[in-house]
């Protein structure tokens, strides 16, 4: 078939397939709470 001039390239994911998900990003370590200042 003659499909004419190619103008776009698309990666088509079927609806039944899950969308690719970005790798989970590790949460940064919690900053240690400040010690209460000693009086």
């Amino acid at each position: 078939m003659n499909i004419g001039e190619i103008v776009r390239e698309v990666e088509v994911i079927p609806e039944s397939e899950p969308m690719p998900v970005a790798e989970p990003v590790e949460a940064p370590e919690a900053t240690p709470a400040m010690e209460p200042a000693q009086r």
Binding site: M1, I3, I6, R8, E9, V10, E11
Partner: protein, 184 residues
């Protein structure tokens, strides 16, 4: 020169119009180049044909494209059109046999219908080429004269709608409008 378009991501299959050959046992085959038999669920393209100036030649072995078909600089992949084909003069049909009126579906071995594409899809101004495809729906009129099979065998094998009126196929199964402009 081969242009690098970058690759967009879309969800849900692309649809397009195309022809199949209705073969014995209710199988649908690619009608002109290679007679590949279509699986009802999923068909992965292989690069098997070489286009010469006026005719296509079947290769002995599949071409091993690094990314698999379809490739921009080649002619491989499953084909379909954004719009139903318009009947061309007979001499034109000898070179471009798909330019046959969809109204002639089932008046011989060819049947007209809608295919779905996914995987890598190259979108052209008149149609697409895809990595993966399957038949979605067919138009076979009530008084069809299929020489090798019948619509019951096709329906049993593919479990897809077979519509008796071309207008129903176009209205219910035709492709959505394809945006030909590149997204930014």
């Amino acid at each position: 020169m081969i242009q690098d378009f970058g690759r967009e991501i879309a969800v849900g299959g692309f649809r397009g119009y195309r022809w199949w050959r209705a073969a014995r046992g209710g199988w649908l085959e690619s009608p002109w180049y290679g007679r590949a038999r279509w699986d009802p669920v999923e068909n992965r393209a292989r690069c098997l044909v070489l286009q010469r100036p006026r005719r296509w030649v079947r290769r002995r072995h599949p071409v091993d494209h690094a990314e698999g078909p379809p490739v921009l600089g080649c002619d491989c992949g499953f084909y379909a059109l954004h719009q139903p084909p318009i009947e061309a003069p007979r001499e034109t049909q000898q070179i471009f046999p798909w330019q046959t009126s969809p109204g002639l579906s089932g008046r011989g071995p060819l049947v007209f219908g809608v295919a779905e594409a996914w995987g890598r899809v190259l979108i052209g101004t008149h149609g697409w080429r895809s990595e993966v495809s399957r038949p979605l729906a067919l138009f076979i009129p009530q008084d069809a004269t299929l020489p090798f099979t019948d619509e019951h065998a096709i329906s049993a094998r593919y479990r897809i709608p077979i519509l008796r009126d071309l207008r129903w196929l176009l209205a219910e199964w035709g492709p959505d409008h394809v945006d030909l402009a590149r997204s930014a």
